[in-house]
Amino acid sequence: MKQTQQTPAIGLDVGTSRIVAAVQNGDQFLFKSQLNAFVEVPWSKMTEASLKRESVPFVVSGEGFEKKIIVPGNESSRFADLLQSESRRPMNRGVLNPTEPENAIMLKQLIENLTEGVRSPGIPVYYSVPAAPLGAEENLTYHDASIAQILRELGCEPTPINEGLAVVFSELEETNYSGIGISFGGGLVNVCLSYLAVPVLSFSVAKAGDYIDSSAASITGELTTRIRLAKEESFQLNGPFHDKLHQVLNVYYDEVIRAVCSGLKEAFSNSRNIPKMGRPVPMVLSGGTTLPKGFRDRFEKVLKELDFPLPLSEIRMAQAPLNSTAKGALVAALAEM
């Protein structure tokens, strides 16, 4: 992230799959992202030297026989593939992974790497947090507090922002921040209906990108890391499907889309808080799971089949699906200054 001017604030998308940081440079927004994952490599002098030679960021942890090298972020995927092992995830289903003992440490490492050079003492950082899952009152306090603590330790002033609302702030400026923002992440799909920048209804659906990866992996026998790579690099929802992996991905994509659309219909039909919007509102889709070609069309088709209760003016993709949450968080931070 080339930075010529000191950014007044940082927007941080703390996603299950990726962490994205957004900063302001003059009139522009700049983005930097890291996979929210890491791999452990047994320590050896040769491995450490080669990682240094290749400029791969790593951390050496432990002593003696316990000594290991941890490769966090983007390189973790390549190393996992090389080592034929699964990368480890600090987060799961949108929150800190309770089965990962190194979750907070690795998350701090990743955020530190991402914000290096743009962080200054007391800088406001707006970070994304998920909404409670539909139909459940999941306690997100621990996750929220943990991220805030990490950011404070890094000298920042943290403020949480709903992930779906961040998408609205990023994409729906033309409608005065009225509309529906949906972030299809790795662990969760976050939805927020906003009216004039006020979040009216927000919830999450617990079927997202990771569900597709793990389900496809269990059917095909592939590693989820490879499934994710295949999904992001070559898969498209409008076919044709030449191999089993793509056929399976198609099935699970369809399942996730249907689950989200059903959740949307249920939430919007049952909510009593939805104001009269006056006119149809736009719906914007963002997040890594929306990247395959044909996603928007498939989503629109399913939503129409289900007779969604709120009049929509359009369903469109975010301008930069991987960056919109971080951008929205930054916009929110700047608006408070």
């Binding site: 702030f169 400026e173 920048a197 408070e336």
Partner: protein, 395 residues
């Protein structure tokens, strides 16, 4: 309004900042309203009262220009040429072309039925020269009418349908008999637009009771003698902006107004509604009667919007008004009230006295002048004998 303002902001951060600030303000107001210490803020009646109090100065800022406002110096005794915004256009002369079978036919096509015509005491009225405030009342050399007051009969109405014809006719006949007996109006226009002359034009009718009006030269106290009365068979809903008379009544009213103005050289500014002239001297409040308080179709009668004219009762004789008056009147009437208040303030400022002191002086003036009126010009009670019901006073 918020969305409209936000749409004009191009910078996305600025736009969000604006919306968030607005949201915070609304939240603060909401919190305040929910606070037990500020229960009164959520009381609707209190807000209505506050809105009423704020409305008067607001209206004075928003009024149209040029305004038919009398210059303060003119009120104090100088020229009064600014009362009316436009010069009078001479009206085409109207004349009687036929009179047979109890129906007069006039040159503009109006038919006037005369079978209910009756006489009353001959017209005789006194006026006060506004340009000579210390002067006494004068009897005008001419005994012709100086203006027209429009009324509503406030009588029982029936659905205007062919199936109800018999009932409609019965109601109309009863009304005319009552008006004839009470000598209440010079003319009644029924719902079919038929025009009935009741009291002859040369006589006074008991239509306005305690009332005042003023034109550029003269102030009139007690309009029974000085003004003609045209009453429309209808009921006026207070504050209703749309006219509640039929198109036939509008058409006839326009033709009758034209005939009367043509015959007696009546100025357009002297064609006013009962609500504009009605007063209650016992408490010095205006609007004792509120018929045509805000929805009279002046324009359809071929007249300017005379609701904009200042009320003589307020600016010449120190009368005032209360919330009940506002509740009974429409927004159009307030324009005249506001311009009257402006005149009062202006004159008080010029005389270096408070508005309250000026009002006291003007009320004394009214008492002095009304005491000089002959008994026939000044009915004893505060009510007139016509059909409409007076507004209830505040306790």
């Amino acid at each position: 309004m918020i969305a409209s303002r936000a749409s004009k902001i191009e910078d996305p951060v600025e736009k969000l900042r604006f919306l968030k600030t607005t949201e915070k303000r609304f939240s603060q107001i909401e919190d305040l309203l929910l606070s037990p210490h500020f229960w009164w803020l959520s009381n609707r009646k209190i807000w209505i009262t506050v809105a009423f109090l704020l409305l008067i100065p607001t209206l004075s800022l928003l009024r149209r220009s040029p305004l038919p406002v009398i210059d303060a110096s003119a009120v104090a005794g100088g020229k009064l040429s600014t009362v009316r915004p436009a010069p009078e256009v001479p009206l085409e002369k109207a004349y009687l072309i036929d009179n047979r079978g109890g129906v007069e036919t006039w040159s503009n096509g109006l038919h006037i039925e005369t079978r209910f015509t009756t006489s009353n005491r001959p017209r005789e009225y006194y006026v006060w020269n506004r340009n000579a405030p210390q002067a006494s009342l004068s009897r005008l050399p001419s005994q012709q009418a100086a203006g027209i007051v429009y009324h509503t009969t406030e009588s029982t109405l029936e659905e205007l349908e062919e199936t109800q014809l018999r009932r409609l006719k019965l109601l109309g006949e009863s009304l005319l008999q009552y008006v004839q007996k009470e000598k209440a109006y010079h003319y009644v226009i029924d719902r079919f637009g038929r025009v009935f002359r009741v009291v002859v034009e040369s006589d006074a009718a008991n239509h306005a009771g305690k009332s005042t009006w003023a034109d550029e030269e003269w102030a009139y106290i007690g309009l029974n003698d000085s003004f003609l009365a045209i009453s429309f068979e209808t009921q006026t809903r207070p504050g209703d902006e749309s006219p509640e008379i039929t198109q036939a009544q509008v058409d006839s009213g326009r033709m009758l107004t034209r005939i009367l103005r043509s015959r007696y050289a009546i100025r357009a500014s002297n064609c006013v509604t009962h609500a504009q002239v009605s007063i209650n001297p016992s408490n010095f409040q205006i609007g004792y009667h509120t018929d045509w308080a805000g929805n009279f179709p002046f324009e359809a009668m071929g007249l300017p919007d005379n609701y904009e004219l200042p009320l003589a009762s307020l600016f010449l004789f120190g009368f005032s008004y209360d919330g009940t008056f506002f509740a009974a009147t429409g927004a159009r009437m307030w324009k005249g009230v506001v311009s009257s208040e402006d005149l009062l303030r202006s004159r008080a400022g010029k005389d270096s006295i408070s508005v309250a002191q000026l009002r006291t002086q003007l009320r004394n003036q009214y008492r002095r002048l009304s005491a000089l009126l002959p008994e026939s010009n000044e009915p004893a009670g505060t009510t007139d004998s016509r059909a409409s019901n007076p507004r209830q006073e505040n306790p």
